[in-house]
């Protein structure tokens, strides 16, 4: 019984970070109506940024979070103006394939530079012990930071003019355009935010587990599962979806060999896509 509770708690902690990763994806999807398949590359970029900053500059791991958020944002905005902008009007098939190919190139280059070996960022934090189970400090802090970032995002989207503009564009781009909102600037902002969130999630994951260049694709897939659960364009739904996924993983792991949880995850994914195309937790689009 205790073991089940411990696993559920740990699942929720890790799941919240999945939610953070998915928030970036779902934001871009909702605002620009496109699936961003470079999401995985952004996550890995965050992981490597942590690794490089802590090893080369010897900075304490969590101190680089604001740097990564900022860096991710700038890179995202830059990427938007360089590449994404001209793809906006294209049929979704082409957009899917072009972001997919950019992802291939980035991951391919990263593989050529860093190989496919495992990288580890040693972070030692005292954990919290309950009964005989220990919750690693890294998991706890990652979940806490996720909550902070999510809170900041909420404040931005609902209590600033720019945030409201983002929601307006997500809701109806033509109407927003007509009411004088500079939509292309908003789109670039949203893309930047999406990349920043993905990179931040990558950084937090790297504080918890070792990673390889190819880890991005695995977490990108999890982000899609979470987005399917939470509904498109719904950051709050993404967070809830992430927690839900973590919960399922933790709970399921107690009753079957841990390796079966992946099967459950994908079955869930396909089922959710078929049965709930708007997401299980699809609150009304706000």
């Amino acid at each position: 019984m205790l073991g089940i509770i411990a696993s559920i708690v740990d699942g929720v902690l890790i799941g919240s970070v999945y939610g953070l990763a998915a928030m970036g994806l779902t934001l871009i999807w909702g605002v620009m109506n496109v699936v961003n398949l470079t999401h995985g590359a952004a996550i890995v970029a965050g992981m490597f940024a942590l690794y490089l900053l802590t090893s080369a500059l010897d900075l304490p791991p969590y101190a680089v979070l604001p740097l990564i958020l900022l860096g991710g944002f700038l890179v995202g905005v830059g990427l938007y103006w360089i590449a994404v902008h001209r793809m906006i009007g294209q049929p979704p098939l082409m957009f899917l394939l072009s972001t997919f190919s950019v992802n291939l190139v980035v991951i391919g280059l990263a593989t050529a530079v860093w190989g496919t070996g495992l990288f580890n960022v040693p972070v030692s934090l005292p954990g919290v012990t309950w009964q005989r189970y220990t919750f690693p400090g890294t998991h706890l802090l990652a979940a806490a930071l996720t909550a902070v970032i999510a809170g900041l995002l909420y404040l931005f989207l609902y209590h600033t003019r720019l945030g409201k503009a983002v929601r307006a564009v997500a809701d109806n781009r033509e109407a927003a355009e007509l009411s004088g909102i500079p939509t292309t600037r908003v789109l670039s902002l949203a893309f930047g935010l999406g990349v920043a969130l993905a990179a931040a999630a990558g950084m937090l994951i790297a504080t918890m587990f070792p990673f390889t260049v190819l880890a991005g694709d695995a977490y990108q897939l999890k982000s899609f599962v979470v987005t399917a659960l939470g509904g498109l364009g719904n950051p709050a739904g993404a967070l809830v979806g992430g927690v839900a996924l973590g919960l399922v993983e933790g709970f399921a792991a107690q009753f079957m060999p841990v390796s079966w949880t992946l099967v459950i995850e994908f079955v869930l994914f396909v089922l959710v896509l078929i049965i709930f195309p708007r997401g299980v937790f699809a609150f009304t689009r706000s």
């Binding site: 190919s101 992802n103 391919g108 050529a112 899609f224 399917a228 390796s259 994908f266 396909v270 078929i274």
Partner: protein, 336 residues
């Protein structure tokens, strides 16, 4: 996208396939594959042509969904992998003869594709694409846990399995010829669909699904049929390929990067064209073979695939054949 499709609609559908030059072009290509490596017992050539045949098979069948119906199947490799597993399992655990195991694999995978298809084909665009990834990863995760199929470690075939075919060396040739036959069938299937009413319906779905439905195309049925058909020959190819390897494991059988390469090939050659898939596959395989052993570039295949795809999507969406048809429109009457 438009050029090759309107080309098909303009075509005179009256003359039967046997009289069309393209039918014989395919036959010539298949014959070349079969005969050339035999000259001088050129094993090295046979090995690289075998891979080319596999790629051509995967690309031609992917073309049915991606090229005609416009549905991106990121996870098309699942058919190849499942075909491989069913075939290898029947031969190793139940001592079935190869031919029977192959047929069983092909039929089983097509049926499974039909079932999956009925579920996910109501999804559009990105959702469908993601669902196909979900299916591939889900099947891989399942097979990795499935002990009768060896789990993550996979299945091995003893060297004795080559005896009924006349020993190891001879078997390699036999399997090669069978794969060339599967490749030929894939090209013919792709061609036959394209020049049929069924194909016309698929292409209409690819251009505008809602309009097609309004015009009376039975979209759900056609999509399900296309998905199921596009699974059969890759399953056979998988069965042959993994039989030859005498070994199959989930990470090789369900390798998403192979689906990706098939997709790059279809786009490279020209989406919706039969020749494109074949020529693109051959060119890509040559490139890949070179990358495989090049010291500096052995890790670059992902980058190369990505760059190729990006260039095609951004600048040459019609691919190689699209470019050729643009320069020499009369080629459309000969090639597909």
């Amino acid at each position: 996208m438009k050029s090759e499709k309107t080309g098909a609609i303009d075509r005179d559908r009256a003359s039967p396939m046997l009289y069309r030059p393209f039918f014989w072009i395919i036959a010539l290509a298949v014959a070349a594959f079969a005969v050339v490596p035999l000259i001088g017992d050129n094993v090295q050539l046979r090995e690289s042509l075998l891979l080319a045949a596999v790629y051509i098979t995967l690309a031609s069948n992917l073309n049915i969904m991606l090229g005609y119906a416009g549905y991106i199947n990121f996870g098309s490799i699942v058919f190849f992998g499942l075909g491989g597993y069913i075939s290898v399992y029947l031969v190793s655990a139940h001592a079935w003869p190869l031919a029977a195991a192959e047929l069983a694999a092909g039929v089983a995978v097509s049926l499974l594709a039909l079932v999956f298809g009925l579920g996910i084909l109501r999804l559009r665009g990105a959702f469908f694409a993601l669902a196909t990834i979900g299916i591939n990863q889900g099947v891989q995760a399942f097979v990795s846990n499935f002990e009768p199929w060896g789990g993550s470690a996979g299945l091995y075939l003893s060297t004795q399995i080559f005896e009924p075919l006349g020993g190891a060396m001879r078997s390699l040739w036999v399997i090669y010829f069978l794969l060339v036959a599967v490749m030929g069938l894939s090209l013919y299937l792709s061609y036959a669909i394209k020049t049929s009413k069924f194909g016309l319906g698929l292409i209409a779905i690819g251009q505008n699904e809602d309009a097609a439905v309004v015009l009376g195309v039975p979209a759900p049925l056609y999509k399900a049929l296309a998905y199921s058909l596009s699974a059969f020959l890759p399953a056979l190819a998988g069965g042959l390929y993994f039989f030859k390897s005498a070994f199959i494991q989930p990470s090789d059988a369900f390798d998403l990067s192979l689906s990706t390469e098939a997709m790059v090939i279809v786009m490279l050659g020209g989406r919706g064209t039969v020749t494109g898939a074949a020529v693109g596959a051959y060119l890509y395989e040559e490139l890949r073979g070179w990358l495989l052993t090049s010291e500096t570039f052995s890790n670059f295949q992902l980058v190369v695939s990505g760059v190729l795809l990006l260039i095609i999507v951004l600048f040459v969406p019609g691919g190689l054949m699209g470019w050729i048809y643009g320069r020499w429109p009369r080629m459309k009457q000969v090639l597909e």
